[in-house]
Amino acid sequence: MANIDTLTNKGLTVAPTGRTAAGMHDITRSRKGKRIREKFIQFILFLCGIVSIFTTLGIIYVLIFETVSFFREVSPIQFFFDTQWTPLFAEKHFGIWPLVCGTFLTSVIAMLVAMPIGILSAVYLSEYAPDRVRKSLKPSLEVLAGIPTVVYGYFALLFVTPLLKGLIPTMSGFNALSPGIVMGIMILPIVSSLSEDAMYAVPQSLREGAYALGARKIHVSFLVVVPAALSGITASFLLGVSRAIGETMIVAIAAGQQPRFTLNPIVPIETMTAYIVQVSLGDTPHGTLEYHTIFVVGMMLFVSTFALNIISHWLRKRYREAYI
């Protein structure tokens, strides 16, 4: 009996050798043990699954908690209507607009680079490229997304900026243009691969219908496939914007640390992310107003990227449902 006991404890099923009452009792006990173990494992796995919920709740709790502490000291009116952001100076202003402006500016520049090239590559890869070209071009583009952003920052500051200075001599060493362009190149693979997925999902029958009417390939691509994939392309655009808003190291290195209420791309600015980095690098004591500010800025970042991600997710789901 001891033999069966040790085996069943190891989780192995053993056929009963002796049909004694004690033997039967042993088997039922092991089945019960097994059932409990199964439930226990399922519970542990469930806990793993729910970690993600707690992460989101944690983020929301932390941001709300610190934001509330911030607004106890600074009025929302100043936050939303002042046009200066100088929490680290003696004369403090807490207007969020300069940081929003900086983030907006770099993101717009990035999307101006990423969107045209991204859609062009997506149309080419999905409609024109022979398999061989596709198989070598696509992974090469994906490499761009895998390069650490601090490397892009170095590249923007020490290669692109000097290059642009040759073209625009009045440009400052820190500016929005150079990190914006580099960020666009970083975002490009996201835009192109998501747009391509959307175009790929367009049913062949639509293309064939257009061909039957005598359309050329370029007309089919741009007048049938692109409009049909528009929700997916929009989703890729929104995801790209969200990535640009949240991008940190490129702008922290190459855009400067001067919050400025301007849309001039050749002067130093500061983005929301770069501000968080700037404060984190200094030794800001816990609980001070400066400390609260990074969470308020974080809250702005979180809300805007979250909204963009949700809309993008919804759009992608919609085109999947529409054609499959």
Binding site: G11, C48, I59, P148, V150, V151, S242, I245
Partner: protein, 281 residues
Amino acid sequence: MTKGHWKEWAFQVLALMAMICTIGVLITLIVDVCMDGLPRLNWQFLTSFPSRRPAEAGILTALVGSACVVILTALFAFPIGVGAAIYLEEYAPKNWLNQIIEVNIANLAGVPSIIYGLLGLEIFVRAMHMDRSLLAGGATMALLVLPIVIISSREAVRAVPVSIREASYALGTTKWETIRYHVLPLALPGILTGTILALSRAIGEAAPLITIGALTYVAFLPDSPFSPFSILPIQIFNWTSRPQKGFLTNAAAGIVVLLIVLLLMNAVAIWLRNRYQKKYY
């Protein structure tokens, strides 16, 4: 040649040019960094502590710090991520809670990395009193890469054919035994590939750890999970923001090391995938 033909041709040339230009930027970036950094790369650079004099400075502490953070990240993220993936693929009934978990994971993957830094700062550094330790860094990074680990592990688990599960059930095994002895071993190469790619993202990230207060100047090696630390991207960031030419060269050399590490990790991931993919099906 008709007008239509001309347009077809022009579009293809334009699209190819755009992509070649983009890849050209990638090549320029790598060549530029290598030209700046390779001459500086030597044994002294790899084995020296940071210094105020660029010529004597090295990346030893940053390299060790990065390795420690990645190991801790893997220790946290791998079991939780794989557990969550198994739960969602094998156990989760289609109810509102699991729907929320799914949408939530997709959304977490899009949250900017610096927000995870703010979370880590409040929860791990302040509330749990881990201070600016390796442990806090690893835990923060684990939360950051968790969605990626879960998503790729789910794909790997889903790819295991149902027939294998059914064969196992037919032999009288329980659900967990089937998963433990049949599904997991088959899904493991895919899970490992996804995890390595997720960790290679963690190695390149600087922003969340700057936010939790990882140091830019550490003159000693960490001796416990509670030691303060620096990591390679932060060291590179620090050198890039110095005006002296020597530090910029150091930054470039650091970038070369970082890119080599990433290249190796990706090579391992691709090797794993090619070695084991489709072997069983």
